[in-house]
Symmetry: C2
Subunit: 370 residues, 2 copies
């Protein structure tokens, strides 16, 4: 038995989760000598702190999309762990496990029922390249990277020659990967963001062909001039609302819309309804559009091989950049929620839990745009 430290949910928070009241650390004993039958003992390496984790705290939600945390137990997130002891023939000591159910604990145990049961698809073995930081596997080579890559592959397919793409929230983590993947395929890209700084980032660091501030620009005029006579072939949409509506009016025949997010509608209420989409479904009919929503888990089985073949190389070659905000140590976990929800972070927020072996996991400067 060794001592195991965990970040635990104490109760459902109202508003911002308060450390000491809603979430806090607890210590318990854990057996890290003998693995569960056909299961694993794991050491948590790193966890991505995502906005969706806040939903996982809504214990009173009657129809949650994903499993909710349990009161008094360790929370979890999309993360990486190292196998300490394996009781399973498919895994050995030192293997790296990627799962959205990575425990916010120093150590954790994975039972046979989970590893071989109906949700086994959620547990992936990955093989991090030694010259990349392990945190990259929670960013450009993790779920956000899979989101960008696999949705393009599955919904758009190969970009048509000389085609044009509009990316909303282009300076966001997924959006910026989409812009870079498209630019490398020779696509002309227009992207939007909500501040002048981000617009400058899109132009100067991501090299998109055109960028605008959707809060101040004339969206219709921007898309009309970018699309020209033929219109814009693709929309990669994280926002919805006016920008989606405007794309529908300026899309090319046989245009494709990837619905990745709808930020503008997430907080819609009776008092503040979502922006009206007036060009649907007439534009879909008149221009023979395809519009598709997705979650990355549905695309993973089809695109897994091709993702691991193409994307790590692009990161290694410096062709696919991204910005990570890496915090170190178990202690950094609790405070990261407030920073995430108040926007006090630069890029993807990741906590490297395994502080002891920092030098092993982080070998080079973060992969930023500086």
């Amino acid at each position: 038995m060794v001592s195991n430290r965990s970040l635990v949910l104490l109760q459902e928070p109202t508003g911002m989760p308060q450390v000491g009241k809603d979430i806090d650390y607890r210590t318990s004993d854990i057996d890290i000598e003998s693995a569960p039958s056909n299961g694993l003992i794991l050491k948590t390496v790193a966890i991505a702190i995502d906005p969706t984790l806040r939903n996982t705290m809504r214990l009173s939600n009657p129809k949650p999309y994903a499993p909710l945390y349990k009161k008094g137990e360790a929370m979890w997130g999309y993360g990486l762990s190292e196998v300490v002891v394996s009781g399973n023939a498919g895994w050995k000591k030192g293997d790296i496990l990627m799962t959205p159910l990575t425990k916010m604990s120093t150590y954790w145990r994975l039972e046979e029922g989970e590893l071989n049961g109906p949700s086994k698809a959620g547990y992936k073995k990955i093989d991090p390249l030694p010259d990349l930081n392990v945190t990259t596997y929670l960013g450009a080579l993790g779920m956000p990277g899979m989101t960008a890559y696999m949705s393009i592959k599955d919904i758009i397919g190969d970009f048509k020659p000389n085609s044009k793409l509009f990316v909303t929230s282009g300076a966001g983590f997924v959006g910026s990967l989409v812009c870079q993947i498209a630019k490398q395929a020779g696509v002309k890209v227009i992207a939007s963001a909500g501040s002048e700084d981000k617009v400058a980032f899109l132009r100067e660091k991501l090299g998109v062909d055109k960028a605008f501030n959707y809060k101040t620009a004339d969206i219709d005029a921007e898309l009309a001039s970018f699309g020209g006579e033929e219109g814009i072939d693709y929309l990669y949409d994280n926002v919805g609302g006016k920008q989606l509506n405007s794309f529908l009016a300026h899309s090319a025949v046989h245009g494709v819309v990837v619905v990745c997010g709808a930020i503008s509608a997430y907080n819609a209420s009776k008092d503040q309804p979502a922006e009206v989409i007036s060009n649907f479904p007439m534009a879909v009919l008149g221009r023979q559009l395809t519009v598709r929503g997705f979650i990355v888990a549905s695309l993973y089985p089809r695109w897994e091989d091709s993702f691991w073949k193409e994307m790590p190389k692009m990161v290694q070659d410096g062709k696919l950049k991204s910005q990570e905000d890496v915090r170190v140590g178990m202690d950094a976990l609790a405070g990261s929620f407030e920073d995430l929800l108040t926007g006090k972070h630069q890029g993807k927020l990741i906590v490297l839990v395994d502080e002891e072996q920092k030098g092993r996991w982080i070998q080079r400067n973060p992969d930023g745009f500086a």
Copy 2:
């Protein structure tokens, strides 16, 4: 030279086209002995009178979707003609030509430039089965049948086992074919219509599992109860508006929407805006939906063979019924526009122009539901 009678556009109508003022018959001479070099001399057999033809009369439309009629010249429509003299190696006397540019004339000439030029895809040779009325090739085996069949094949694919489909305007010509194709594939079908008579027709003649009057029913309640826990897998939509919006709220995960029409939005104006679609794009995102618009000409190349292999047999076997309103003779053409636009017809309105050979073209009772 023989005398050739044509229905001619005299001027762009305002409102209902007036016979004698906007459209009228004219007679001229035509050479039906020597075909144009590499072209054809044709005798018009039958023409479908479609609402889109009214748009073809809008000579002042600056950006028409399709070629417009010319003042003083014969109008055209989707129809069938018989080759009288062929100057083209690909065609012989007696062949049947199907084209949306069938002239409203007794005879007409097709030049080489048209038959072999860029728009040659619009001229199809068909091989009508001797035991079917030729008019069927403008209905269940014509453009409406292709619309139903090819859009299902291309956008939905094979129906999933035990799946559920919602068809709006299910008693319309295309909608009723969609209902029948789906029922034969074992799909559970709910369909809507705008009158009690049509709802009865859906239930009693088409055998759908559930039918409702969208003007009086609680659409949400109908779709919720039909979809149950899993939701409805497919929407075949001719209407848009509230019904589309409600489907988005009651669709299954990975649901598919075929956007075939948007009747509810066609006459939208500033004063009377189209019904708001509030569930787009959130439902597309949350349920991973695919939404696609199409025109049948885009699908034809891919599905042509399979259409001719499957559909004529279904009609012959009485598994695919449809209602045609067949008028006979060149004289019936002019008046048919008013009947079409005022709804004075039962089923697909078709004029059999070639009255002389009526017995050859119409061999059995119209293929109705009686």
